[in-house]
């Protein structure tokens, strides 16, 4: 048994008291965030010092599993900052990262085989993972329900919460969109039907919905918008219009950057990268089909078997703080999942948000996801 403390929620509760009343709807987000950007650094330092003094009692090693680019991506990755900031706040705590190659599957497989899991928190869950977990593990619990225990949970935007059982707590989100080269297309396509026109023949690179997250999101977007009955027919036409379906986001983006096609499916934060790397922004225009973007929130969850539940919750709560939300968004180049993190000037200028974010809920995907993906894959593949 690890040492535990009863004082855990003391300090963070006051933070919520001060800042926990910002509006929750995605639509009026702009109005709530614009006010703060200049004063935030000062507020942050005071917030931090008060908390370090009151929360010394937590100690031990917190094992956090995540996908490798969360800690290891070459340009920026949030992992290093997160560890440092959390350890500063809790001097007796050490954060240890684990990045198993099979990501969540690693833990699902362990649980399925009855092998113990000594990891405390997983960072980087999406709704597909939850469906797989519930389908494959049945009654065995991999993650524990945590959401309502967290003092900052109220700040998470309702539209992004994707786990009816509150195990996965969203910490950021991306929107799947088109990225295109202005000089390569006469006018950007505005609807899904536009993509079938001759003028876009051979112009779009997407990813495989079976092996890539962005590819799957784009495919689900077509199901969402065109309907379960129509999407296969639509893909047949897309295929006839010369769409290129590559294995991974990286394959697709490489081909796009080499000028193999003027449009690629990617994230709507594309210009943030382009700007940071001094790239030509006309080659990194973001387009939303039907004024939509498919939201792909990422969540974190506490392992059911953790022997550090309080520390795990403290960590998750920390990820939801205003400061961490601001920082993670910047370093992971995704949008914050909470309503209280101010968007940086850089994001307000270069990160685009769709007018109508769409996504499937857990309930809508449950029992359908595998079938949709499989029918899609069988229609596309087979060398025909």
């Amino acid at each position: 048994m690890r040492r535990r403390t009863l004082l855990k929620h003391g300090a963070t509760a006051t933070v919520v008291g001060l800042a926990g009343c910002v509006g929750g709807d995605e639509g009026d987000q702009d109005t709530t965030t614009e006010a703060t950007p200049t004063e935030t650094p000062m507020q942050e330092t005071t917030e931090e010092t008060t908390e370090t003094t009151t929360e010394k009692s937590l100690s031990g090693t917190l094992k956090v599993a995540t996908y490798s680019s969360f800690i290891d991506a070459p340009s920026t990755a949030p992992g290093g900052w997160l560890k440092k900031a959390f350890e500063k706040r809790h001097p007796d705590v050490t954060v240890k990262y684990q990045t198993p190659d099979n990501e969540v599957n690693y833990f699902i497989q362990r649980a399925a085989q009855g092998v113990d899991i000594d990891t405390d928190v997983y960072v980087g869950l999406n709704v597909d993972h939850l469906i797989r977990i519930d389908e494959k593990l049945g009654d065995k619990q991999l993650f524990a329900s945590t959401g309502s225990e967290l003092s900052n949970y109220g700040q998470v935007k309702d539209g992004l919460k994707f786990d009816p059982q509150n195990r996965a707590v969203p910490y950021d989100t991306g929107y799947i969109s088109l990225v295109y080269d202005e000089s390569g297309v006469d006018a950007a396509p505005e609807t899904f039907q536009d993509l079938l026109k001759d003028q876009y023949s051979g112009d779009l690179i997407v990813q495989n919905a079976k092996t890539s997250i962005t590819g799957r999101a784009f495919m689900l977007w077509t199901v969402n918008t065109l309907g379960e009955e129509q999407y296969l027919d639509y893909w047949k036409k897309l295929k006839n219009n010369g769409i290129k379906i590559l294995g991974s986001w990286s394959d697709a983006y490489t081909a796009y950057e080499n000028g193999e096609a003027p449009m690629v499916v990617s994230y709507s934060t594309d210009q943030v990268y382009a700007n940071r790397q001094d790239k030509d922004l006309t080659k990194h225009q973001v387009g939303f089909l039907n004024d939509q973007g498919y939201a792909n929130p990422e969540g974190m969850a506490k392992f059911a078997d953790t022997d550090n539940p309080e520390l795990a919750e403290e960590f998750m709560d920390f990820v939801l703080t205003k400061r961490a939300q601001t920082k993670i968004a910047q370093l992971n180049v995704q949008f914050p999942a909470t309503d209280w993190a101010p968007l940086s000037d850089e994001f307000r200028k270069y990160a685009k948000e769709p007018e109508n974010p769409v996504t499937f809920t857990y309930e809508e995907l449950q029992g359908n996801l595998d079938g949709w993906v499989d029918s899609w894959a069988r229609q596309i593949a087979g060398g025909r």
Partner: protein
């Protein structure tokens, strides 16, 4: 196992000196050790996954197997035959004649033909010509073999792309553009990039140990050069060419990342399906497909081994003298041949040098031109990186250590298996085919088996037994590499004149002594090629390394390349890829030189 060893023991006085005992029983001991390593890091893990095909939810069932076999999507026109519904064959054949398996075999066949066509001239030039840098080039032929598929994809897209240097050159010449990417042709060329060097290397080894006196005899008996080649030389080379072709087919049959990166999902192979089914944790279906893949590969291997056994016969290595690039006595034939060599060099430049150079250029090109920033990133990561981040120096060191250790494991394993299976009847052909199994099993399945069997461990007597970290990685690399040693050594060993070995034994040499002092020097070129492959396999291995290295800092260079991908820049990954290229090139030359000293 070594009957010979025992009779030799009886001939002399019984000796309790352990080193003498070891020398006498060395082959037996090595045989047992090889079997044990195979069992732990290959057969056990893989069979636990294969078992999933017939064990669903804790019950034995054939349902999934039957479902897969009778699914026209997978087996095309064969599906109704498997189902016993022969009336359906016509209808299915019209809809999807090949199925996923048929298409996969088709692209593998095309890739094999392309690899052989591209590899053979290389073998000819390397084994028949003498020119400055020949040995270095021969050492570097297997370089493509170690390149992570992600690097090959980057190089190919950059070089063959619409805006790439190839199309620029063609446009400048007024030939017009070629649109190669995202077609079946792109996959075939990329497969040839990987496998033509394999064909070339294996064939070069054979060509360097042909018996030229037989050709001279034929010529002196009046055969023209063509007949002498066809009837005397070709039969000596064919086993090696077929070895290369077989390995190429097996590899390309189970190819996967390169297919998705350069062809697209429309051209998906069976292995793509195995991968995504494993991702979805649909083990029964994945295992069934993987078993079917392995069955095809092993059947071909077995058929080939039967052939190889028939072909082997006694002869000694006695290669003809090498030609010079600039002939001593100019003739029309010599001129035509040299033009051919130049044309071939041009093709090599396009297919091999082009993509590799493009990748290096990528690592030196930033958004605003020439830059060293990505190499600075590597240095910075090495110096300042946090302990949980991937450091280039650690990756280089691990790759070299594992590569060297793999040599020490794979060479004895490979030679032992070669010796034990070279002389024997049909039973030993089966054993030989089984020994080739590591090549014939899907990499995805091996990875999954290692995760479940080795990383998670087995409950034994209340304790959980795990096999991970550097030792497991070297063992896994050894298992993946030793079949290459076998395929390079066994055919040559089969060709060694038995009387030489028997004389040595009659003079009192133990079986191992005879092997080390007599047989291996005769097949040195095969051993050297096998060693180079073993090292290359270790350096290039990704699937099991990344799984066995989980949670430790045992990652290797290809793993580092993979981890440096991301955030919209290929710079760091291609810089790491270039480091991998340089480090392995230097190592190859050294391995080859060391082998060469022994060879000479």
């Amino acid at each position: 196992m070594t009957r010979d060893g025992e009779t030799a023991g009886r001939r002399e006085r019984p000796d309790l000196d352990p080193s003498v005992w070891l020398e006498r029983h060395a082959l037996g001991v090595l045989g047992v050790a090889t079997a044990a390593v195979l069992l732990v890091v290959f057969y056990y893990p893989v069979l636990t996954v294969f078992a999933d095909a017939v064990r669903v939810g804790g019950a034995w069932t054939l349902d999934v197997v039957v479902e897969v076999l009778t699914d026209p999507f997978y087996f095309g026109a064969l599906a109704p035959i498997f189902a016993g519904e022969f009336g359906e064959v016509g209808a299915v054949a019209a809809e999807s004649p090949l199925g996923l398996f048929g298409f996969t075999a088709y692209q593998a066949l095309l890739s094999t033909i392309a690899s052989v066509l591209l590899g053979l001239p290389g073998a000819y030039v390397l084994s028949r010509y003498e020119f400055p840098g020949r040995r270095t080039i021969r050492s570097l032929t297997i370089l493509p073999f170690v390149m992570p598929s992600i690097m090959v994809a980057i190089g190919f897209v950059a070089f063959f792309g619409t805006n790439g240097p190839l199309n620029a050159a063609l446009t400048a010449l007024g030939v017009g553009q070629v649109n190669l990417l995202f077609t079946l042709e792109a996959i075939v060329v990329a497969h040839a990039f990987y496998n033509a060097p394999l064909v070339a290397r294996v064939t070069t080894a054979a060509w360097e140990s042909v018996d030229a006196r037989m050709v001279e005899t034929a010529r002196s008996l009046g055969a023209n050069p063509w007949y002498a080649f066809r009837d005397v030389l070709a039969p000596q080379l064919l086993p090696a060419v077929l070895t290369g072709a077989l390995l190429t087919f097996v590899f390309t049959f189970m190819s996967f990342p390169i297919v998705l990166a350069l062809g697209g999902f429309q051209l998906a192979t069976v292995e793509v399906w195995v991968y995504s089914l494993v991702q979805e944790l649909e083990y029964a279906e994945a295992a069934t497909l993987a078993v079917a893949e392995t069955a095809v590969s092993l059947a071909l291997t077995y058929a080939y081994l039967r052939y190889e056994a028939r072909e082997s016969g006694g002869r000694t290595a006695n290669p003809p003298p090498r030609k010079r690039l600039f002939p001593d006595s100019p003739s029309l034939l010599a001129a035509v041949e040299r033009v051919g060599v130049v044309a071939y060099a041009l093709v090599v430049a396009v297919v091999f040098v082009g993509p590799i150079a493009s990748m290096v250029v990528e690592s030196l090109t930033g958004p605003s031109g020439l830059t060293l920033q990505y190499y600075q990133f590597l240095v910075q990561r090495q110096v300042e990186g946090a302990s949980f981040q991937t450091k280039p120096g650690v990756a280089v060191r691990n790759s070299l250590v594992f590569g060297a250790a793999t040599l020490l494991v794979a060479l004895p394993m490979g030679v032992t298996v070669s010796v034990l299976t070279t002389r024997g009847g049909r039973g030993s052909r089966l054993a030989d085919a089984a020994a080739m199994a590591p090549l014939a099993v899907s990499g995805v399945v091996v990875g999954l088996g290692m995760l479940r069997g080795l990383v998670f461990g087995v409950e034994l007597f209340g304790a959980r037994l795990r096999v991970t970290g550097p030792v497991a990685i070297v063992a896994a690399h050894g298992v993946a590499a030793y079949p290459f040693v076998v395929r390079n050594v066994a055919p040559l060993l089969g060709g060694v004149d038995r009387s030489v070995v028997e004389s040595a034994r009659a003079l009192g040499a133990t079986r191992v002594r005879a092997l080390l002092d007599v047989e291996l020097p005769l097949v040195a070129s095969g051993v050297a090629a096998g060693a180079a492959f073993a090292f290359a396999i270790s350096v290039g291995e990704f699937d099991s390394t990344v799984i066995l290295a989980t949670g430790s800092s045992s990652y290797t260079m290809p793993v580092a390349v993979e981890r440096y991908i991301g955030n919209r820049t290929l710079g760091p990954a291609s810089a790491m890829g270039t480091v991998l290229l340089v480090v392995t090139s230097v190592s190859f030359v050294i391995v080859d030189r060391l082998g060469g000293r022994w060879e000479a």
